[in-house]
């Protein structure tokens, strides 16, 4: 089945004023996507915006894929205006996705803002067997909390402005947590997705503490299939493509 297909918008509704939930339906949509994989989604039928935009698979139901997106620039602004019933071209599932942990581990998931979209299906898959540290700049960036609460062993939220949870960055919250109860957390594995500075801080912390793990990287993309070499990140083995060898990389591989 082709990974390039036309899908119908069956829902495109605001979650809050800067985030939307998008549900796409197509008989062609793959049923076998892995947590951490993504789709490239068309945002306009004109040439402005031109390129498709990458979005993580939030949920994968039979014949439908769910996405959670933040309205950021012109592409997502146009997406927000798309109506139910409209058809969009999509390309996916793309990328590698998160490698699953060994049976005996209860991993730590660290989500920064919209990074939750990528970690959500992983949390779901892990079945109440993960700690989720979820931070946003404000309360508005913390989404789907009720659903998440039921999905993880423990949910620790934080915001930069203190409007919900602890007033701190998610990495600092994690740091305190690790300092006080690392042994209690039967975890030697981290999964993180979020803005680049957060991922860098997570990586430093993980390296310092000797914890292994994976981070999902973000880069501007054009093709999504490994052809343009536009989305590379620097790794210890040279430049690697976020859309192909990634978006998920072992923490120790990335050169910051």
């Amino acid at each position: 089945m082709s990974r390039y297909l036309r899908a119908e918008i069956i829902e495109n509704s605001p979650v809050n004023k800067s985030h939307n939930l998008l549900i796409l339906s197509s008989s062609g949509i793959s049923k076998n996507s892995a947590p951490g994989q993504f789709y490239m989604i068309e945002t306009a039928s004109s040439y402005d915006p031109l390129l498709k935009r990458p979005f993580s698979i939030l949920k994968q139901k039979s014949g439908a894929a769910h996405f959670l997106y933040r309205i950021k620039g012109k592409g997502t602004e146009r997406m927000r205006q798309m109506k139910n019933g409209a058809a969009v071209s999509v390309l996916g599932p793309l990328g590698n996705g998160y490698p699953l942990p060994g049976k005996n581990l209860t991993p730590i998931l660290i989500a920064g803002g919209i990074g939750i979209a990528s970690l959500f299906p992983l949390a779901e898959k892990l079945g109440k067997n993960a700690y989720l540290f979820y931070g946003g700049r404000t309360k508005e960036e913390l989404l789907m909390l009720d659903e998440l609460k039921g999905m993880v062993k423990e949910l620790i939220i934080s915001t930069n402005d203190g409007s919900a949870g602890e007033k701190d960055t998610v990495v600092d919250v994690l740091k305190d947590y690790l300092a006080s109860q690392l042994s209690a957390l039967s975890s030697q594995l981290i999964y993180a997705c979020g803005p680049s500075p957060m991922l860098e801080a997570v990586s430093m912390l993980a390296t310092e503490k000797g914890i292994k793990g994976y981070i999902s990287m973000e880069e501007n993309m054009a093709c999504g299939v490994g052809a343009c070499l536009g989305c590379t990140v620097k790794t210890k083995k040279g430049y690697k493509r976020v859309c192909k060898e990634g978006p998920v990389f072992p923490i120790e591989e990335i050169v910051w």
Partner: protein, 302 residues
């Protein structure tokens, strides 16, 4: 209905090829496109040694276009011959290899090796705006360009020699003529146009290399004009590219003077763009009672 076109001695099934750097080594798109259906595949620019390329971010979107500064990341000649070439050779389509050297000698070495390996065509990239040495220097200096083409031409036996011209010149006709006079079998144009974008919030350039190459529909009018001008200046065939998104655009390039067209940025928007364009061109011919594609070339009525 005859879709075939000739670029010099090369006979293509149809006039639609891929633009270098936008279709990987063919393999990346083989899931979406039956490579057998393409007029030709032009692969990512190859250099003598592998190249790491430029730091990230390497691309950003602009109005109806995109900037890239990949910096010619590529596997290098040796690895290309070992793994990439055999892959494309499984398909029944012409293979054109885009090359970039730092020096004249490097271009010659690359051409000899590729010619020996039996590639159908060699495309001299003398217009890459994204690497400091070589490339664009040849592309904007008439004497050096002529010398380069002469030397490369002398060093190859069978492959077709295509010179990819830089759009970054005042008079494309002069450069087209130099390519023709120096023995190039065909010319291709246009490469990306140097451009730049700044993020006003961070005050940083949107791509790490500061300047990148602009491609996509934004540059189409410039490309069409240059092809029209070059067509008036030389007799060798022209491979036209620059913002072709659909079959109408492709026909527009042929009317301006192109014998074949190459699809670049459009592959990113639609991985099956090449096939859609071939189909669309067939329909265009049917609807307009055209039986031979060659008749379109230069068919502009002024």
């Amino acid at each position: 209905m005859d879709l075939t076109v000739h670029i010099g001695k090369l006979k293509l099934k149809n006039p639609v090829m891929t633009a270098s750097g936008t279709f990987g080594y063919g393999e990346e798109y083989s899931e979406f496109v039956d490579l057998n259906k393409l007029g030709a595949i032009v692969v990512k620019g190859i250099s003598l040694k592998p190249r790491e390329g430029n730091p990230s971010p390497r691309i950003c979107e602009t109005s109806c276009g995109m900037l890239n500064s990949i910096g010619l990341q590529n596997v290098g000649l040796k690895e290309f011959l070992k793994t990439k070439l055999p892959y494309v050779r499984k398909y029944d389509t012409k293979l054109i290899v885009n090359i970039l050297g730092n020096t004249l000698q490097e271009y010659v070495k690359l051409s000899e090796a590729l010619d020996d390996a039996g590639v159908d065509g060699i495309e001299l990239n003398v217009s890459c705006p994204n690497v400091k040495k070589g490339g664009i220097v040849f592309g904007t200096d008439k004497k050096m360009l002529g010398k380069l083409i002469l030397k490369v031409k002398a060093s190859i036996k069978n492959s077709l020699l295509i010179t990819k011209l830089s759009p970054n010149v005042s008079d494309i006709k002069e450069f087209a003529r130099i390519a023709e006079e120096s023995g190039s079998d065909a010319i291709s144009l246009i490469n990306t146009i140097p451009g730049m974008a700044i993020d006003v919030k961070t005050r940083k350039p949107k791509i790490a290399n500061i300047i990148g190459g602009l491609s996509g529909p934004a540059i189409k009018p410039i490309a069409v004009r240059m092809i029209y001008e070059a067509y008036g200046a030389v007799k060798i065939p022209i491979i036209g590219m620059g913002g072709i998104m659909n079959s109408e655009d492709a026909v527009e390039f042929m009317l301006a003077g192109a014998t074949a067209v190459a699809i670049g940025t459009a592959n990113f928007v639609n991985p099956m763009a090449t096939l859609a364009i071939i189909r669309g061109m067939e329909s265009f011919m049917k609807e307009n009672g055209i039986t031979d594609f060659k008749k379109l070339t230069g068919g502009l009525r002024c």
